[in-house]
Symmetry: C2
Subunit: 592 residues, 2 copies
């Protein structure tokens, strides 16, 4: 069975030496000193390794079951969920007015990584709840906040998001679920929703469904959509639970992975719902929390890769097979460990250099969200809105690839379920699809975010890269190993952006045909930047002679690997982009 250890030394490094959170003047960041975050991470790490990780295989093997309308989660999930609730982990960054601890989102993100790495399917129950909490916090009336927020913050109740219907996913304008206004101000909701994560289960007393539906009068397409709160059990005025609402589980989907999470078809049959936010402004309300939700999915991508990587390293050190071509490294044993072989090291370093870069990138995104929300910093909000599709799309594509590489290190054993490597890949696969499939992320990036606010945010990103390079190029080693490759990659990204500007006006397909490559190109530049920042921090620590020198040296070597072996992908993506729309659009649809 695979195991998991919280990578807290690296998390602390990103928080305190790369992002320097405690030196940031964002409200709440003054609490984030190294000692405090270390203590939090240590406790969270214990919960992750000792409670959640051992249930990961259980969840995959048992899955969720539906019997007589009741959904049962896998053995041990309820007890673990209670432990998580009781530890206050579900309310870490929630509003103190509603039972939360008011911690910055960046800390919540770091802690969340541990839980997701340990057991992604399990953690989704609280992840979806957090989304519902955020939506009600942003758009709810005072009464709604009073009724729901504390229960959601503590996960006494959980939440769901209901968007997809059988015939419509990305294109929500097609949705058919209806909302009919009642005399008492409530609505009757009728329709079928699919792919509802944590749609029903036995972990909490009540489930608060957030449901997109069409109420009459809003117009065609997405304009007619409103967002409704539909509780599984009606909530009485005193907060106690009343009758069962008219929402039932049609079935649990059989999925490729995340078996521990109950993905439900939910049938709304005139269920009572309450408008959340403004009528016919449901899309806006839903998308309030999009940056966070998508960042959370990007995190899933690399967090699964982290867990898979840890096990691949252990296997590569343990498994004896073949000899080092330059001379035996384990001469007294029957063979050398796998890790002596260059191609095995390549696979491991691809994973390691991706995961560490992705971690820094994701935490930076969370840091920007904190700046945006806690300081009302419009520039930070613009920048993180630009980066969000990259975090989601690039990190889940690459995260999945990394789990496949980790599985590959195991050879034949990787394909056998009992070794657990298949599960990491199967679980990670969903992150490329949900919360906006990665093609939709690329479309959002190229079709919307690039030009947002007159292209201000992408210019800000390039300035940031340029300034970092300029400020640091006096350091010859940093320049050669990190800044020069970053500069070249950033130039490729700018060239691609120019290509879109020059060609996209007369033919939008010229940009859209390269959108996915652009997202990947952008992702490499972001990871290159984070590696350059990390290298700078590591060199500073080594120069100062503080801390664990081996850690910092490893950091530099891992970063150099990324720059030398991963960044060259930018040239390929640029070449594909520059081939334009024609190769992609030329073939008639009926000739595929």
């Amino acid at each position: 069975m695979p195991s998991y250890m919280a990578p807290n030394q690296d998390i602390q490094f990103v928080l305190h030496e790369v992002l320097k959170v405690a030196q940031n003047d964002t409200p709440g960041y003054d609490e984030l000193d190294a000692e405090f975050t270390s203590a939090v991470l240590e406790e969270a790490g214990k919960l992750a390794s000792e409670v959640l990780a051992p249930l990961n295989t259980v969840g995959d093997t048992e899955g969720c079951t539906l019997e007589n309308g009741i959904v049962r989660t896998p053995t041990g999930f309820k007890a673990a969920f209670d432990k998580m609730r009781e530890g206050g982990w579900t309310a870490l960054d929630c509003d103190a007015d509603y039972g939360g601890q008011g911690m910055p989102y960046v800390l919540n993100t770091a802690v969340g990584e541990l839980f997701v790495s340990a057991n992604m399917a399990f953690n989704m129950y609280q992840g979806l709840t957090h989304g519902a909490y955020t939506a009600i916090h942003a758009h709810g009336s005072d009464a709604q906040k009073t009724t729901y927020l504390e229960k959601l913050a503590t996960c006494e109740w959980t939440g769901t998001m209901n968007l997809t219907e059988p015939h419509c996913g990305t294109d929500l304008g097609l949705l058919r679920t209806k909302a009919e206004a009642q005399d008492d101000g409530s609505y009757k909701i009728t329709g079928q929703k699919i792919f509802i994560s944590a749609g029903d289960h036995d972990l909490a007393d009540n489930i608060i469904h957030l449901v997109l539906a069409k109420a009459p009068g809003g117009g065609e397409g997405t304009r007619g959509i409103s967002l409704f709160i539909v509780p599984k059990f009606m909530v009485n005025d005193d907060g106690s639970l009343g009758d069962r609402n008219a929402v039932s589980v049609g079935k649990i989907e059989e999925k490729m992975g995340i078996h521990g999470n109950s993905t439900c078809v939910l049938d709304y049959d005139g269920a009572t719902g309450y408008l959340l936010g403004d009528l016919h402004k449901g899309m806006r309300a839903m998308f309030t929390m999009m940056n966070e939700a998508r960042l959370g999915v990007g995190l899933q991508g690399y967090a699964q890769a982290e867990a898979a990587y840890q096990n691949a390293v252990a296997y590569a050190r343990d498994r004896l097979q073949g000899r080092d071509v330059t001379g035996a490294k384990n001469p007294d044993g029957p063979a050398d460990p796998l890790i002596v072989h260059p191609d095995v090291r390549r696979m491991l370093l691809d994973q390691k250099s991706f995961v560490e870069g992705a971690r820094a990138f994701t935490y930076w995104g969370a840091y920007l969200i904190d700046e945006a929300h806690r300081k009302n910093d419009a520039a930070a909000l613009g920048l993180v809105s630009l980066l969000t599709p990259v975090i989601k799309g690039f990190l889940t594509d690459k995260g999945f690839d990394a789990t496949i590489q980790a599985q590959q290190v195991y050879g034949g054993h990787g394909y056998i379920e009992e070794w657990g490597m298949s599960q990491f890949a199967r679980d990670a696969r969903i992150a490329m699809i949900y919360e906006g499939a990665n093609g939709v992320q690329a479309l959002d990036l190229v079709g919307r975010k690039l030009a947002q606010d007159g292209g201000k945010h992408v210019m800000a990103f390039f300035d940031l890269v340029k300034s970092f390079i300029k400020e640091n190029e006096g350091d010859a080693a940093l320049k050669a190993d990190f800044l020069d490759p970053l500069k070249a990659a950033s130039k490729d990204l700018q060239t691609a952006g120019m290509f879109f500007m020059q060609n996209g006006m007369k033919d939008p397909n010229a940009a859209l045909a390269g959108s996915s490559d652009f997202m990947h190109l952008f992702g490499h530049v972001c990871l290159g930047l984070m590696w350059a920042r990390s290298a700078k921090a590591a060199r500073a620590a080594l120069d100062a002679g503080t801390g664990d020198a081996a850690f910092y040296e490893t950091k530099l070597l891992t970063g150099r690997y990324y720059m030398a072996r991963q960044l060259p992908a930018t040239r390929m993506h640029l070449a594909r982009i520059e081939s334009g729309a024609e190769p992609v659009m030329a073939l008639d649809a009926d000739r595929f």
Copy 2:
């Protein structure tokens, strides 16, 4: 449920217009006129689509079961297997002296593609049998041939390959299974073998296990290994079946995919075995069939991609979601089909251009094997030995990626098992691992095949590319769209080869650290070459005004896509290779 249609028009194109098989003087090729191969493919295609494909989901869902030592295959497998046997499909390229039809391997490969696309797990039962047939045909005594070959050719009995043990896979020198000589000339085989595909089942009356084991006196490592025939049921002198041999099924492995194939742990407890080939030359005997076996696995890679692609296209045409950014294509419907969207087309064209290129490449490999075997052509044998690790490694890596892309086209539905797209990916995944993991293929390519016979074969390959370019560069359109990109890619490959020569001598890791990138670079050049050859053939047909013009135009557009959007990867692989050993080897094993 997914469906499958045999892509016979494209197969005929490759056989007759690219490879021009009927014009080749290899013995047996004179039979391969277009009418004959068309008739064979049509029949095989019916069996594939109507009998095998519908069982693909069944096999995945039911899997194989072990009860009281008896392995049961999924519902319908036995009847389908009988149909396949009765149609003579299992003996297509087997020796006419032993019940076969003596057809060239290239035809067997084309037919095999259909069966593998339709149901990979099912087809493995006969695939492994074919391997056992080939080994006994090459190394068996006359008596062994008489006893086993016809039964194996007709799949009245099936075969297995027993290499792996719990502690040893790639490094067979470590194996522990023992063979003790008996007075009657037989051996007692004792040990445990794992990952034995088709290890036990209810499809045939007997199973002939080929088992690698160590008999005393052969020396250390792989030198002590011999190959043994171990029948499940003893075979009496008259060919009837006798007692059960001392080999039993320890368990059936729970795997990520190919559930329809029984992957067994086999326990040999003093089982009676018969030496096949020479004592202590077991590795040589086993590797006789390596080119074919690895080509067959490469085929699995793209054949799964073909099946997944067909379904992705159907879904992309059918599913209405969003609008074409340049104007509605389905204005009377609620939305346009997915296939209008550039990024969806990109995914589909990545798959299509890969699959068609891979098909041509694989058939060319089979064609070279025919030349090698039927004409004793050492140059063809040398060339196909060079290309085999590329066919196996590149096509299975890329084939798996293509199944993931096909799944991605389905959005959320791709993750739900009932749509079948997950199975294509899960099944394709094994092909990257077995028959030598892809890292081992890369090692074989760079560490062995490049330098084989003084580097003669790789030089022959480059000459072949160069000649093709030279002969055809008078055609301006072919030159711009195909030959120039091929020339650039081929130059990258040569530069990489030079880098290995210059640096590999003083540090073998300089070559090995780039081995996997080299295999991919090589693969792109091979597919580029096959696309250039295909484009030439398509243009010739269009110029002649013969045949289906739409097919040839589609071929050209698909090929141009590959050259424009896939070949730029060679530059990236070269850059990684040129970064050398240092980034890969610098980190100590205990710092990962």
